[in-house]
Symmetry: C2
Subunit: 184 residues, 2 copies
Amino acid sequence: MITGEPSRWVREGGRLLLSTRVLDLWSLRYRHPVRGTQKDFIVARAPDWVNVVAVTPEDKIILVRQFRFGSNDLSLEIPGGVMEQGEDPIAAAVRELSEETGYGGGRVSLMGSVHPNPAIQDNRCHFVLVDGAVPTGPMKWDHDEEIQVSAEGVPEVLALARKGGITHSLTIAALMFYEGVRAV
Amino acid sequence: MITGEPSRWVREGGRLLLSTRVLDLWSLRYRHPVRGTQKDFIVARAPDWVNVVAVTPEDKIILVRQFRFGSNDLSLEIPGGVMEQGEDPIAAAVRELSEETGYGGGRVSLMGSVHPNPAIQDNRCHFVLVDGAVPTGPMKWDHDEEIQVSAEGVPEVLALARKGGITHSLTIAALMFYEGVRAV
């Protein structure tokens, strides 16, 4: 059942409303291709992000637990962060994994990329698998980071993601990608 | 392996930077509980959202395809939207499903709730299952909505989510929850 192909609006320009350390908020003007009418929509522009499913030789997934200022609570997640200018997802994943957990090595591959929120954000989040990650060096936290690192069995982590023990939607989506890769 | 319990920062206050139709951007002041130092963090405050996995008696999942102003592209997703003031997730899911697709009925249950992004957003997204959804009435789109509605087999939709055919992270996470519920 299909009710018709949706119109692709045409972006005509935009106006920066506010620039912050984590995102820029824009008012973007779009024109409807058929009606010709214009309307402004709010869009948050941010660098791409990367999330890392790092699996140890003992078949455990590396988890990080840290305080999150949005939810005002501790949050259990996989490692990840903001990609730097000019970085590719693989390099960013290896860097974030090393900085947050001290793990590295293994076979590194891109599992896929998603939109954190295509309705109001322009950026993507890349899901990288590090298969065979081992401790390789000291952690290098940002000034405000305090990270509890742990390694849990794959089935336990997947069950936790489905039972509310992990609530970050991007971690959950990355684990779903990993489940697919693993099943092949 | 554990490297220590992370500190819980204490929220001391905040300042509204910008209010928009979809979110409010705040600068929130936090105090570190041990160091006593204060620092401001950017947080987007928004109402909770709801995403709906609606499964027909023919075991197909209802999908919606629409233009998204953040990604500047068409996006294939499950139905969903912003919860209204005072609404609970179940009521919001039934309303959004009906408005966007014309489907309703069936057994409705809350599968779980996630944080779209606990690092920089305070809101949650609730994942609601509508099992046995059937066409019940006309769609009621917002003025700017044009939605292509389709119904696809469950295995096909799950495969699509893992292969890049669905890129909205919240849709992917909701499908992972449904996969868990379905397997029970």
